[in-house]
Amino acid sequence: MHPFAYTKPADTRSALVAGARGGRYIAGGTTLVDLMRETVERPGTLVDISGLPLRDVRTGERRELRIGALARMSDVAAHPRVRSAYPVVSQALELSASAQLRNMATIGGNIMQRTRCTYFRDVSAACNKRQRGSGCAALEGYNRSHAILGTSDACVATHPSDLAVALAALDTVVHLLGPDGERSLTLTEFLLRPGSTPDREHDLRPGELITALEIPPHPQPLRSGYLKVRDRQSYEFALTSAAVVLHITGGVIRDARVAAGGVGTVPWRLTAVERRLVGARPSDRLWAQAAAEASHGARPLRHNGFKTELLERTVERQLRTVGGTP
């Protein structure tokens, strides 16, 4: 680990000042400390934001749910409103990492989580994400866990977060605060596909802080759930996952939101699947037909070709689980 200076500002303004001077924010630290030890991350100054008042989870006037960026994964998962209104969020969280890590990691940090690509994590390997222009060792290397959607010739690294998949399905908005004031983006806008600049993973400007994530109000009743497919029963990143959110009234799907994890360079909204669902009546046939659209545009690599089919099956299974069979 490279040497660094450490500061812990007591209020948001001091944090922004430290951030504007080039300090690196640290929240739960579960990704950052790990990558610092691998010397993938080498911040000169750590700005510890854990003392900032950004932990609240509250419901707003429009019934939107505002989750403070520093709320811990475990707390959000167990929050009564999250559990009752957005099971997909609770499930995605509780299927992530371990109880210990969920006690440390924050919601803001979770969507900023960096890829598990083995070549990214190993400074002796070529990686455009770590060092633009150095090449991508994963393209021709071992790439079973890598993405099949949203990839480029420069990078095929998977976004590792489960939560971000659930949040993407729910059209979550990211609230930011920076030297120039506040702004908001959807999570889908916030997280960037690699293109030719895989080192740019998000639209966070220098010195900007994530203050909150906001799940906008959704039509009721809302059914949702998260399915994570992995080799091991627990404590493993997703090979594929599906977040499904359905609004069904009068036997007709009025609104459908489906996102996939483990397969994309960012949490992947399956809009083609959603289009097939809206206006249709739940049936096993519908689930299968809609799921067949899931891997549209997939670019499999040498070791992850199975993900194309697995993704479709994962989506189909979770559509049936959430939507039911009449």
């Binding site: 040497p3 060792a137 290397g141 080799d231 493993e236 199975f306 697995l310 099956r313």
Partner: protein, 740 residues
């Protein structure tokens, strides 16, 4: 022979070191400085190669050496030439030479140590190590068993009967190839060594399964007498074979300590464990079975290829199972190793049989389906009366009983043999069985016992306890032999100054060290009895030693318990602070005259979600014939642990190499998957018990290895029964079950 009224051996005693372990006070290798045993320790961090084959063309250590707190950076450029006296350790391969640290510029595999940075603190050492710049003249390494990697090493061959003729006449013939990927032990404690020099004497606190081997290895490396080296290793945080050899980092710690003239601690990182120790090698096992109509095997052919390094020819007992498990008159077996640009494989739990049984027991299952026969019945029809490879009788072999008991427990009779007939929601349910065997190894061991004036005893042997409970089981054996209650006996191990022991591996500790402890403690008891019967002031004076027994620390006449005295009284009256005995065990010709193995019948039930390619184990049940069980509680834990290892082998474990440069891409515990708690629902074991006094004086047959053997094929067979799909590569992954 005299016996305590209620023997400690055979009772489910809790671990004598349990309190130390649950309070965090047991001292593992990297912790002896904190425990006060060694002072002024500096930290060494190893720099490893980032190419898989080639030569080092330059090492720039300026930035590293310039860091405040860095004591020295050592590489082949400035390392002293070490004597490396010719030496081959007991666990070392029979051919080749150990890797020598920092003696030349050659890189033989990715992750080879190329330098060590020694600094005041761990943080500084790590940072400085990341600043060392190494340049290479690199070539593409050969890392794939399937690649034409040059000439395989000389093969090991075995033949009996006329295989070709038998195969021509066989009613059924089956040709199959099974593959097992590389697996790493991944004990929870990473390997670590603290080394301290006092003049020419070296003391090392090490993670090792055999202190004597580490002592001999270091003495050879530095060209000093073995007596000048002391190795201390009271607790080992798991090893499963990874700590049998004297690995390069042990030598590096000692070298660094000599260079900086201070004690140095070197702890491998988890990542470094993948290239700093060994692993279970990638193995390809081609098998041909020939059988008659009634399911009797007429011929088997075993063609085995496994990976090894370019500098050592590692081989394990891969041929044992094929030669002796099933009665077969005609057998041909070939075992080749292929040298690759990798570090040397090594012993990993159940070495040889764990791999071979996967192939053989899977093929037997396939044969059962070919013949339309129950897979247990097929095994029973091939049960030999004598060891088919040598013709000698078995000391004990109760495999039939294992299957009988297990079948009853799991309700095997109710099984519909047809695949795909049992469904539970999204899950297809299947069951499978396999045979487990493991040779009962025995080797010479010695022990030392002292009976103290306070009526307690201390017993020592330089063995190890990596988890099976050596401390506890030896205490039980010793307590019975001396005639004391368990709390009054202390067993000590893990110090090269103690009497010698064979490696703590290969399931030989209980048989070898246990027999030595019993012999030693019997001698101690007899010595005390002799003292009493010759002592005119003893109530036992003039009696016959054979008539005297000892129970709860009191010597008395067997027929007249009232006449006797305590050990304390005896020693006090004779002004003795202690009595001491040395004894030991050396295996005799029973090793050749009898075929001695531990056996098991393994039953697995799995659920397969075919749609998602998921396999989830529902139950594994093992029934074992392992001879006498000294501590049923600990033996049960060991069996369950072995079966959990087998579950990992079947479904999860796979070390993955990038063939472009030899880099291991999953050298961490997030990507190299071992079972978690959630993966292990219902795993249980039964021991038949018994007592095989032909095997060794205490009647045990070893159990650490046999409990991992057979688990993977039982699971693979259950997956077939569930799905109708035969997977012939381990681990069974999601992608292998998708499609179709």
């Amino acid at each position: 022979m005299t016996r305590q009224t209620r023997p400690a051996a055979g009772t489910p005693l809790s671990r004598v070191d349990g309190r130390l372990k649950v309070t965090g006070q047991a001292a593992y290798a990297a912790e002896h400085d904190a425990h006060g045993a060694v002072r002024g320790v500096a930290h060494g961090v190893i720099v490893t190669s980032t190419v898989g084959r080639g030569r080092i063309t330059g090492i720039d250590t300026r930035a590293a050496a310039g860091q405040r707190g860095v004591l020295k950076v050592i590489s082949h450029v400035n390392a002293p030439e070490l004597p490396y006296r010719p030496w081959r350790g007991v666990p070392d391969p029979a051919r080749g030479e150990r890797l020598r640290v920092f003696q030349d510029d050659r890189v033989r595999f990715f992750g080879q140590p190329v330098a060590v940075v020694v600094a005041e603190t761990l943080e500084i050492a790590w940072h400085a190590a990341s600043l060392v710049r190494v340049s290479y003249d690199a070539g593409r390494p050969a890392t794939d068993l399937a690649s034409p990697a040059g000439e395989p090493n000389e093969s090991e061959n075995y033949t009996r009967g006329n295989v070709d003729q038998a195969l021509r006449q066989a009613h059924v013939r089956l040709d199959r190839t099974y593959r097992l990927q590389r697996e790493h032990h991944n004990p929870m404690e990473t390997h670590a060594t603290i080394a301290r020099w006092d003049g020419d004497r070296l003391t090392v606190w090490d993670k090792t399964q055999i202190v004597l081997n580490t002592r001999a290895g270091l003495a050879a490396d530095f060209g000093i007498p073995e007596a000048s080296v002391r190795v201390i290793s009271p607790f080992v945080g798991g090893a499963f074979g990874s700590a049998l050899r004297c690995w390069p980092h042990v030598t590096i710690a000692a070298l660094a300590a000599r260079e900086v003239r201070r004690p140095v601690k070197v702890a491998l990182t988890r990542k470094q464990m993948y290239t700093g120790t060994g692993f279970r090698p990638v193995t390809e096992y081609k098998i041909t079975l020939g059988a008659d109509q009634r399911g009797r095997l007429t011929a088997t052919v075993h063609d085995i290829r496994a990976e090894t390094s370019t500098y050592e020819d590692y081989r394990e007992g891969l041929g044992d199972v094929g030669r002796m498990t099933h009665a077969t008159p005609n057998v041909r077996l070939t075992y080749r190793t292929v040298p690759l640009d990798i570090n040397t494989p090594t012993w990993m739990r159940g070495p040889g049989p764990a791999t071979a049984a996967y192939a053989i027991e899977s093929a037997m299952d396939e044969l059962a389906y070919e013949l339309g026969m129950d897979p247990i019945e097929l095994r029973m029809r091939n049960e030999p009366d004598r060891d088919p490879s040598t013709g000698v009788p078995f000391s004990t072999r109760r495999l039939r009983e294992c299957f009988r008991v297990g079948s009853r427990t799991v309700g095997w009779d109710r099984r519909n043999p047809r695949p795909r007939t049992n469904r539970d929601g999204n899950w297809l349910i299947g069951t499978g069985v396999a045979v487990a065997t493991y040779h009962t190894a025995r080797a010479a061991a010695q022990a030392l016992a002292r009976l103290h004036a306070d009526g307690t005893a201390t017993v020592q042997c330089g063995t190890s306890d990596m988890g099976p409970g050596t401390y506890t089981s030896m205490t039980q054996v010793a307590a019975d032999a001396i005639g004391l209650q368990v709390p009054r006996v202390r067993f000590q191990l893990g110090d090269s100054s103690m009497p010698p022991s064979p490696p703590h591996g290969g399931s030989m500790t209980m048989a070898s060290v246990g027999s030595a402890v019993q012999d030693t403690c019997d001698k101690l008891r007899r010595q005390a009895i002799a003292l009493a019967v010759q002592d005119p002031r003893s109530p036992l004076h003039g009696t016959t030693p054979d008539d005297v027994t000892v129970a709860n620390g009191r010597l008395h006449l067997r027929d007249n318990p009232a006449r006797g005295e305590t050990y304390q009284q005896l020693l006090a009256r004779n002004n003795r602070t202690y009595l001491e005995a040395r004894g030991g065990y050396t295996p005799g010709d029973e090793v050749e005259r009898f075929s001695t193995h531990a056996y098991g019948a393994v039953f697995a039930q799995v659920a397969v979600d075919e749609h998602l390619g998921l396999v989830r184990v529902r139950q594994v049940h093992g029934v074992y014939d392992a001879g006498r069980i000294i501590n049923p509680k600990l033996a049960d834990s060991q069996a369950i642990g072995g079966m959990v290892g087998g579950i990992g082998m079947a479904l999860l474990e796979h070390t993955i190499t990038d063939p472009r440069d030899g880099r291991i891409v999953n050298a961490n515990m997030a990507d190299y998957l071992v079972p978690t708690n959630a993966d292990i629902p219902n795993v249980s074991a039964i021991y038949l018990g018994g007592d095989d006094r032909t095997a060794d004086p205490i009647g045990v047959k070893g159990l650490g290895e046999v409990v991992i053997v057979g688990v993977a094929p039982a699971i693979a067979n259950a997956v077939f029964h569930a799905t109708g799909r035969r997977v012939r590569d381990l681990p069974i992954t999601i992608e292998s079950l998708l499609g179709g």
